[in-house]
Symmetry: C2
Subunit: 400 residues, 2 copies
């Protein structure tokens, strides 16, 4: 008698078996309980979604061009939308991007995956921020690179540390940064650091990946000059997930032509193209060139009020037992609690008290920062944020 | 002076540099000329898109649940839609699939990519039909497998040939088939061959991937029992691209739980999730359980008339100079022209005459079949199809 093999998990590829669910992710499932005020997610406030504009655009496109909006489309994206996105990308600089200079992606998460797919061979060195954005780390790790974490301070990535590593022999394919209101720290990279990074990219021949989901959510102060605009090594990831709606899953990528061509070929094999329906609807929403500006004018004070509520509550509740910088935009406050031990140990108690955050250790590349946590102020109301901070204080055990 | 390196195509990964654009794809760009009647594309007729039902569902969901429809969602997919898709998958069998038994994908192209990603290590053996679906071959090839092509006849994959290869030592991870109205040949796998394939999968311990985009477009005859329904090794790829609208980019995958769990983790890193907007809209369209049946009742005679127009024109124009089987459904006729040489050499002349097809060689895995071509009858009108066949005859040089 021969043994009949049973197809099962043994058939999984090395790539699939190395990916796994994390303890923190499991724990944060509890953050969805209705009695929990969650500052864990990095999601925008649903009250701000422009449902009316989207409904209007959908009705219009289905009445006038259903055959285009519902059919297969070009892998690179719907040309009319790409023209609009090219113009938006160029808004903060004087650069000119044409239709072919944009590839539409299924959210900027897909942009990250396609960069991994087209640029990373196993063992390649990739420079990332430490702590860094989890979704980017996860996407890149699946291509088995050598991720090199460079620490941040209040001016963003420590390019002096990067320079020392480069001098010592580091040869990355690219350096990945979120220069504006970084996830998870909320930090914005200074103009000086940006110039330094570009200089290093030129000297050592690597690409710069500028991921900027939050840049348009600036509450105060002047935007810092876009990293590497017009620079031949600059790749820019953009998305409407934080400004219009994440459910559309529409992002875009700009960069050198040779890279966009390779990304287009890869994208054809991974999903043919991003939803033409969603692209046509978004193009309809953006067809009024003033719409986005008006919409952002509603978003910014909404998020600013929440940032203020959170930061003020942290200060009044914890005083000098916590340290954080008040971010000028985005969605996150990165708070340190010196002497607290590991905030991951606080999380179960916080959930019991009815609030959730993400322990800082979850974002670590090389250096653990156990005394930190990421607090999102995007989805709770100011009153809820104040209440959540009171609950956090109880969980930490130092409530007055 | 040190040399400054310039980041460029040298930075592309091995994966990216091995993918490339094909000569035929370049040639078929001409198929989009307005004077060309194209039978090259595998795309559905836009006249049949249910724009009204989609507009109605969109207006409803944006009025009632904009916060859900436009927000981030679960990687596995919108639960209400997954319930509907699970019920549709089970329609042709008596199997019961629950919500967790479905993962929504960004078109079934993404299902193919995720299968490659989670199941294929470089050098793994994968059995495919020869000739096979180009999109599947492209998706799988990017994971560097050993693709083993098994020929088809009028009853589908030659499972006797597969058995001989297995006896000789072939040990595939999975066998990929399009059992109904295969792309490119239009052939449907017989019940006997299906049973034989399942028996082989049991004996040799491999998975069966059943990709079925065309099964619901059956014009006549009874459906053949679904391949591997209720079988623990069966993975099924489904899509609404041919029945509702490809622009939504919504497909789904069912299969063993261990595989769906691995696919969910991979999908989180490649695009987080498929458009929640599109999923909610589709769920709204499908909320009337009789809608799809009524819609398919409109589609089938439309496509059947076109199949008849094409097949009749081929017979009357070429007589016994061509051989083809009249497919009972789907979108394709696979025509052989004995003695013609390579149809790829005919294509430029056909484009000059104003018609387009895909040369059979484009679909080859191992065995070139240069005398064949794939003709799609899905998008041209019956009159256009007849005219296109006349133009083809002129291009071949044997017009009466």
């Amino acid at each position: 008698m021969r043994t009949i093999p049973t197809p099962g998990p043994d058939l999984l590829s090395a790539r699939a078996t190395s990916a796994s669910s994390s303890v923190i992710r499991e724990l944060l499932r509890h953050a969805k309980r209705p009695d929990v005020i969650s500052m864990a997610g990095g999601i925008p406030a649903p009250e701000l979604f422009p449902a009316g504009a989207i409904a209007e655009a959908t009705a219009h496109v289905l009445a006038t061009a259903p055959g285009d909006a519902l059919q297969y489309g070009l892998t690179r994206g719907v040309p009319a939308l790409r023209d609009q996105l090219a113009a938006m990308t160029g808004l903060d600089t004087d650069e000119t991007i044409d239709t072919e200079g944009v590839v539409v992606t299924t959210g900027s998460q897909q942009g990250l995956d396609l960069l991994g797919r087209t640029l990373v061979d196993p063992g390649d060195q990739i420079v990332v921020e430490d702590p860094g954005y989890l979704g980017a780390l996860q996407a890149l790790r699946s291509y088995d690179p050598d991720l090199v974490g460079i620490p941040l301070d209040q001016d963003g990535m420590r390019t002096d540390v990067l320079e020392a590593r480069l001098d010592a022999g580091l040869r990355p394919v690219f350096c990945y940064v979120i220069p504006n209101f970084q996830n998870p720290t909320g930090v914005t990279m200074s103009a000086e650091r940006r110039r330094h990074l570009i200089e290093l990219a030129d000297r050592y021949g690597f690409l710069i990946v500028d991921d900027d989901p939050y840049g348009e959510l600036r509450f105060e102060g002047e935007p810092v000059e876009t990293l590497g605009s017009r620079h031949p090594s600059a790749i820019r990831l953009r998305t409407v997930s934080k400004t219009v709606a994440p459910g559309l899953r529409i992002g875009w990528i700009t960069g050198p032509e040779w890279l966009l061509d390779a990304i287009e070929i890869s994208k054809q094999s991974v999903d043919l193209h991003t939803s033409t329906f969603g692209q046509h609807v978004l193009s309809g929403v953006l067809s009024d060139p003033n719409w986005l500006g008006r919409h952002l004018d509603q978003l910014r004070p909404w998020y600013r009020d929440r940032r203020d509520a959170l930061c003020d509550a942290l200060s009044s509740e914890f005083g000098d037992r916590t340290r954080f910088d008040r971010p000028s935009g985005g969605m996150f406050v990165w708070a340190q609690f010196p002497g607290i031990g590991d905030t991951a140990d606080v999380l179960p108690r916080a959930l019991d008290e009815g609030m959730a955050f993400v322990p800082g250790g979850a974002f670590a590349v090389a250096e653990p920062r156990p005394e930190t946590m990421r607090l999102s102020f995007a989805t709770a109301s100011p009153d809820q944020l104040r209440e959540a901070v009171r609950r956090l204080a109880k969980a930490i055990g130092g409530a007055p």
